[in-house]
Every structure is written in C-alpha cells, then in structure tokens.
Symmetry: C2
Subunit: 190 residues, 2 copies
C-alpha cells in the first residue's frame, strides 16, 4: 500500500471503523479509497493501492454494489469497470440509512410484530411482550420520523439540523396549546 500518507491514514481509519459497525475492514477501506479518489478507479488499481488480492476486490465491490454505495463508470474504448462514490455526502448518508433500515430495522419490526401477536402463556411471557411492545413503539416512532425526513432535499435537511433543539421553543408553544385544548375539552364534558 503506497498511497499518499494523508490518504492512507484515512483509508486505514475507515477500515477500522467499518469493522466496528459490522462492515468488513476491506470493504471499508475500498469505500474510503473510492471516496477520496479524484477519478473513478478500476479493480486493478484498488488491488495495487490496498495490497489485497484481485478476487477480494471483486467480492468487496460486489458487496458495495449490493449496498448501493458505489457508482459504476466507463471510459470510451475501455471495457473495464470503474468505480466511484456519489459526490453528495448527504446522499451517501441517506443510502446508508435506507439500506440499514431495509436489512435490519424492518426485519426487526416484523419479528416484534409477530411475537406480539402471540398469546402469552405465563406471567413472564406477558411481561416480556409488554417490554417488546415498548421497543416496538420506539422503533416505529423513529422510522416514521425517518420516513418523513428522508424526503427532504439536502439543503432543507441541513436547515432542519441547524435548527436543532431550537425547535423546542416551538414545541413549548404547541405543548401549551395542546394542554389548553385538553383542559378545555375536559371541562366542557363536565
């Protein structure tokens, strides 16, 4: 691996982080390399840059394609495949979130739902179901929010973020209105 030291540091760190997130080290390194490369790279170039076997590169690229994380490029009169990453980091994040949701969150929700349908046969099971119900609600809330927010264009998303917890002030207002409304409705009934 003889990359510019600055690039090498990035690639190695990324490989390290990848493996802490359940992504294989090599896949992480390849992604990092593609991410910082000024031009799309072909498999051979990745092999040379990272000092890994050609077949490993092939399998790792397949993996990255399955995750929708890389773009395929071609040069006229050259039948090799060249790989690159999207330019927009926000887009990359969105793709990552989308894929993880599809692979991990959705199946978890359906397992939870299935379990929650069953009839508890003991007090322990009843309690377990109750706990799983709480988890189910949490995940549903998060994914609903995510489905909402993922539609936003980058510019607007950035704005939403920069607003941060300042939204709380708005919430305070809403909060008061809602509770006022509740009080009124309650007193009307009486």
């Amino acid at each position: 691996m003889d990359l510019p030291p600055l690039v090498q540091a990035f690639v190695l760190h990324f490989g390290e982080m990848g493996s802490r997130w359940g992504i294989n080290r090599t896949v992480g390194q390849i992604y990092a390399l593609l991410y910082v490369s000024p031009e799309p790279l072909c498999a051979e170039e990745i092999t040379d840059a990272l000092d890994i076997s050609r077949s490993n590169v092939s399998m790792s690229l397949k993996e990255l394609q399955a995750w929708n994380l890389v773009l395929l490029r071609h040069r006229p009169g050259d039948r090799r495949d060249f790989y690159t990453t999207p330019d927009d980091v926000w887009q990359i994040l969105r793709t990552l979130a989308e894929e993880r949701k599809k692979r991990e969150v959705d199946p978890t929700l359906s397992v939870l739902r299935e379990i929650l349908m069953q009839k508890p046969a003991s007090e322990a099971e009843r309690h377990a179901q109750q706990r799983m119900g709480e988890m189910h609600v949490l995940i549903e809330q998060l994914t609903t929010w995510y489905d909402d927010v993922k539609q936003l264009e980058t510019r607007r998303l950035a704005m939403l973020l920069s607003l941060g917890a300042k939204v709380t002030k708005l919430l305070d207002t809403k909060d008061k209105i809602v509770s006022l409304g509740r009080v009124r409705r309650t007193s009307e009934k009486e």
Copy 2:
C-alpha cells in the same frame, strides 16, 4: 436454552442483529434476555437460560457494563450480583448513542481534523482533503444536532419526532425570510 418460545425468538433475533452491528452475538442475547426479564437475573441464571459457559457470561456482562447498558442490583442477604436494564427504552437508546459517539464518532472527527491540518503535497491529496472536509462538516453538523437534542426529556423528544417533517413548513417560512433578506441586501448595494 429452554425459555418460553416467545422470549427465545426475541433473544435469538437480537443476538443476530447484534452481530450485524458489531456487537457479539452472546452479548446481544444477554441484553435481550435482561431486557424482557421481569426480575433482575444473576450470572448463573443467564448461563442456564442461554446455554453458555459461566465465564462467557462473566465477560459479556463486563462488556455490557463498559457500555453502561446494564444496572447492577442486589438482594438483601445474597451476595450475588443481579443485572437488569433501565426501564425507559428512550434512555437505553440515549446511552447507546452516547457510547457509540464517544467510541466511534469522536475519534473519527479527531482523525479527520488531524489530516485536514496537514499540507497536501499533490493534487490528489488536495482533492482527498477536500472530500474529507465535506465529510467532516457532515459529521460536525450531525453531532451538533445530536448534542442539542439529547438534552430533551423523553416526552419532548417524542413530540419532536412526531412533528417530523411537518417542521418543513416552518422552514419554508424561515427560508423565504432569509432569501428576502438576501435580495434586499443585494439590491441595497447596487
């Protein structure tokens, strides 16, 4: 492993998911088991429930403690340690987020900052730095937002989520005001 079938399904799924997120299967299973148990469990009980060695339980519990994910409990006149999880799922999520940030995000930010300080020695390095800069900005934005939001109590956080992208309407307004301001300022200059 002879748990109620409903609990077993949950525990196994959780172990599976854990390993996809870089958490060892056993650690995930133990956490799931503690999460749904009506009472705190001692190491011996976990050993029996999950059919793993006592030493494995000991090490996995140590791991969970390092992640601040479990609570230690004692019974009077019994010197065994009993383990449980917090009741509030939101609190669990917060802890998880906090720990991952501390272990993975913060180090990444500091690696990026360090690399960005260096002087690029080539065009390729200049480009790589530019890309890393974009990633750095993204992560900074996300963590700033996170630092903001993590303070919120559960009730308010849930409200923020339920609001979701409806906040966009507010943003639209802000957006218009901002761009109006820009137009005015520009025309004043001319």
